[in-house]
Symmetry: C2
Subunit: 432 residues, 2 copies
C-alpha cells in the first residue's frame, strides 16, 4: 500500500462540510483517505511526505469542452466569425490532419493542460484512438468522443458512426477507469435529423451519454428554425437526444422555455466564455442557468478559438463577465466559478469520485505556489484562485494518486520531443 | 559607454515600418541604438551579450490606471457594487493606511508589475512621496498623482491641494526623467465644481496634465445630471478640465456626443475592462472610441478590483470582450489590443520615447519565454502574446536601459523583505 502525506498546506476542498483548512491530506494508492487539521502519525511507513508550505492544494480542474489536436491551429486564424472561421479556415486544414498530427497536437495540449492544473478533460475530435492513447500514457483523465459531422453521403455517415461506436466501446472504462466515452453528433447544423436519431440509438445501445455543440451562434439558431421549424433545444429534444444523459457545449442563445426544458431533462452545459467572446458568438445566460438549477461547467474549447487551455482564465471570465453584462456585481461569485471549474465539471461528465478533496474520493489534485505577490495578502484564497491566479501558478499535479507534474515539469510525456514533432506536423500541414 | 547586444531573438517592435523581425537589438546606456536583421560586429567591446533564443522581445507594457498600495486589499471585498465597495469597504480601511502601509503595498505591486512585464504605470493615491520613493528605487517608470477627494471642509481641501501640488512639483522629471506627475481631482462625484476648478488652475500653474475617474458607473452619470444638470463629460469640459491634457480612467458610460467632445479635446481613455466587469460597472464603448480616433490605453485599476496586475489579461480582455458584446469578431483585433497595452499606453501618459523598439527610443523592453506549449506553433506571435500569454511568461525586464528583472527575479526590490512587511501591515490594518 503506497501511502503519501501532504503536510501543512492550505486546502480548498470543495467539500461543503469542510471547505477550507490548513492541515493535512493522506493518499493511499489512487484515493484520498484523510483530509483534516490533525496530523497523521509520522511513524507510519510513508512512501512520500510532501511539504505543503506556501502551497494551496485543491481539486484538479475539469475542462468540459476541447478539441485538443487543434493546438496545431493556435493563432492560425483569429478575428473571424464562426462560420467563416470553420468553413474557410478550420475545416480545410483539419481535413489534412493525419493520425500522427492528432497524436502530436493532442500531446501538446495534454502537456499544457496538465501543467496548468487540469486533471480531467472532454475531447471531441477525429482519430480518437490516438487521443485515447495519449491520455492513457499521460495519466490524465479523459471523457472522449468521436465527433461526427453528417453532411456526407449515407455510406460515409455509416462508416463514421461505426468508427465512433467502436472507439466508444473499445475505450470506455480503460486506463484504470480514467478514460470514459460518449457519443457525439457534432451539432444540429452539421447532422441531419435522421442521422442524429441513429447516433442517439447507438448511445442507447452502448449505454453512453451524448455530447454536442448547441446554440453557439445566433445564425445557427435562426437557421435551425428556418430548416426544421424549431430552435435547437426543442429540435434535439424531439430527436430523443435528451432521453440520454447529455452535455451540450456553448448554449449561448437560449430562451426561458429552452432553459426550462434543459433543467427538466438534466442537460448539462459546458460554458466556454473565452471562445464565445473570441468568435463573437455572444454571452451565455449563465446566471439564469444557475438560477434554474442547470448544471454548468467550464470549457476552453480548442486553442484555435481561445487561444490557450488555461482553466483559471475560464473561471475568472465566468466570474467577471456575467457581472459586467448583468450589472449585478454579485452574479457568479468566486466560489460559484470555482465550483464550475472543479466539482461541477466532474459531475457534468458523470465522474462521481473526483472534483473534491475528501476521504474516499479519487486523488486528483493540484498544488499552487501561493508565495507570490499576486497571492498576497495570504488569505482570501478562493478569491485569489479565481480572480488572480493563472495556469502557471500550478507547480504539481496528481491524477488517480499518481504524480504527473512535479515543479512544473510533466513527468509522463516528453515535452521537448512533443514540441519537435508538433513543429514538424505544423510545417507539413501549412506548406503548399 | 555601456553597449549591450540582444541577439537572435524574435522581436515585436510596435514600429509600423518594421513590426516583426528575427534579429538583433543594440542598447547603449538608456537607449536603443539599433533594431534589425543584420548582426552587429561581434568584435565591438560589448558590456553584455544576451542570447535571445526562444525569446519574444517586445516593448514593456504600460498600465495607465492603478492605485498600487491597494494590493493590501486584494480579496478583501469582492462581489459588491462600486458605491458599497468604495464607501463601506475600501474607504474605511484605507483611512487607516499609514505612509509605511502605502510604501509596502506599492512595493508589492511594483514587484508584481515588473515581474509581469509592466515597465510604466500610472498611480493615483495618497502618501505619494512614498510611492515615488519606491518607483525611484525600483527603476520602473511612473506617472504619479495625488488623487484628491474634495468632500471635506475648505481648509482640508486646501491642504490636500497643496500636498498634491508640492508632490507634483517636487517629483516631476526626477529619477532620470522616469517619474512624471499629474494633478488629479479623484472624480466629479467626489469633488465639488469649485474645487475641480482650483485643481485645474494648479495644473495650469505647474504645466501638468490631469487625471481623473470619469463615468465609471451608470449611477454616477445619473447623479451628475441630477446634481449639476450635465453628464460628466460636459461637466468636466465646462470646468476647464479638458483645457489641460487629460487622461480619464474608465469612461464606461458615454453618449456619441460625449465621444465627439473627448476626441475634440484629445482626452485620453484608460480602459479598465477587468475592473469594470468585476464591479459590474459595465463595458466601455471601445470600438466606438477607436473609430472616433480617441487614444485608448489599458489599466488594471487596483488589485482590490481586478485582482491582479497582469496587463496581458487586460489586453486579452480588451481584444475578447468587445467582440462578444458587439457580435463583430473583427472588433479590437490582437494588434489593436497590443497597441493599447504598449505604444498607445505610452502616448496616453505623454511619454514620447517609450512603447516602441526603434533606434533612438528609450530602452524599456521585456523578454518572454516562447518555448512553452501555449506559444506553439512558433509563429503568429502577436496572436500568442494577446490571446495566450500571461504575466508569468515574462522572464526579463529592462527600463531606461537597466535590467530590473532577470530570470523572473526582481533585482531592485527585495521581494522576501517586502512580503514580510506587507503581511505585517495587513495584519495591523485588519486587526480589531
Amino acid at each position: 500500500m503506497k501511502k503519501r502525506w501532504i503536510r501543512n498546506a492550505s486546502f480548498i476542498t470543495m467539500d461543503e462540510e469542510n471547505p477550507f483548512l490548513t492541515g493535512h491530506m493522506v493518499i493511499e494508492n489512487d484515493r484520498i483517505t484523510y483530509v483534516g487539521t490533525e496530523s497523521p502519525d509520522p511513524a507510519t511507513d510513508w512512501e512520500e511526505i510532501i511539504d505543503g508550505k506556501n502551497k494551496i492544494i485543491m481539486p484538479g480542474l475539469v475542462n468540459t469542452h476541447n478539441h485538443a489536436a487543434m493546438s496545431l491551429l493556435r493563432g492560425y486564424a483569429d478575428d473571424l466569425n464562426l462560420q467563416v472561421w470553420l468553413q474557410e479556415k478550420m475545416w480545410p486544414i483539419e481535413g489534412k490532419f493525419t493520425s500522427q498530427d492528432v497524436q502530436v497536437g493532442t500531446s501538446l495540449s495534454v502537456i499544457e493542460m496538465l501543467k496548468g492544473g487540469t486533471t480531467s478533460f472532454v475531447d471531441m475530435y477525429d482519430h480518437m484512438g490516438e487521443v485515447a492513447g495519449v491520455v492513457e500514457i499521460s495519466g490524465m483523465r479523459g471523457c472522449l468522443t468521436r465527433g461526427v459531422i453528417g453532411l456526407v453521403p449515407p455510406d460515409v455517415q455509416q462508416a463514421k458512426l461505426e468508427d465512433a461506436m467502436s472507439f466508444a466501446r473499445d475505450w470506455h472504462g480503460k486506463a484504470n477507469g480514467r478514460i470514459t466515452t460518449m457519443m457525439s453528433p457534432h451539432a444540429p447544423y452539421t447532422c441531419p435529423p435522421d442521422y442524429i436519431t441513429k447516433i442517439v440509438q447507438a448511445a442507447h445501445d452502448l449505454d453512453l451519454p451524448l455530447h454536442t455543440h448547441m446554440s453557439e451562434s445566433l445564425a445557427e439558431v435562426e437557421d435551425n428554425v428556418k430548416q426544421y421549424g424549431d430552435r435547437p433545444v426543442e429540435h434535439l429534444r424531439r430527436l430523443g437526444v435528451f432521453d440520454r444523459p447529455t452535455l451540450v457545449a456553448h448554449a449561448v442563445h437560449l430562451t426561458d422555455e429552452e432553459i426550462d426544458i434543459m433543467k427538466q431533462y438534466d442537460v448539462r452545459v459546458s460554458h466556454n466564455p473565452g471562445s464565445n467572446l473570441k468568435l463573437a458568438s455572444g454571452i451565455a445566460r449563465v446566471p439564469d442557468l444557475l438560477r434554474a438549477g442547470v448544471l454548468v461547467s467550464l470549457g476552453t474549447d480548442s486553442s484555435a478559438s481561445n487561444n490557450n487551455l488555461d482553466m483559471f482564465e475560464e473561471m475568472r471570465l465566468a466570474a467577471l463577465l456575467h457581472k459586467g453584462i448583468s450589472g449585478d456585481p454579485t452574479a457568479v461569485p468566486a466560489m460559484a466559478a470555482l465550483r464550475m471549474g472543479t466539482i461541477d465539471g466532474a459531475k457534468s461528465i458523470w465522474l462521481k469520485e473526483t472534483g473534491m478533496l475528501k476521504a474516499g474520493m479519487k486523488a486528483d489534485f493540484i498544488a499552487l505556489d501561493a508565495d507570490q505577490p499576486h497571492f498576497y495578502p495570504r488569505t482570501h484564497f478562493v478569491s485569489h484562485v479565481v480572480y488572480s491566479a493563472s495556469a502557471k501558478d500550478v507547480t504539481d499535479v496528481w491524477v488517480d494518486g499518481k504524480q504527473l507534474v512535479r515543479k512544473g515539469e510533466c513527468l509522463t510525456l516528453d515535452e521537448e520531443k512533443v514540441k519537435a514533432e508538433f513543429t514538424a506536423s505544423y510545417e507539413r500541414l501549412t506548406k503548399g
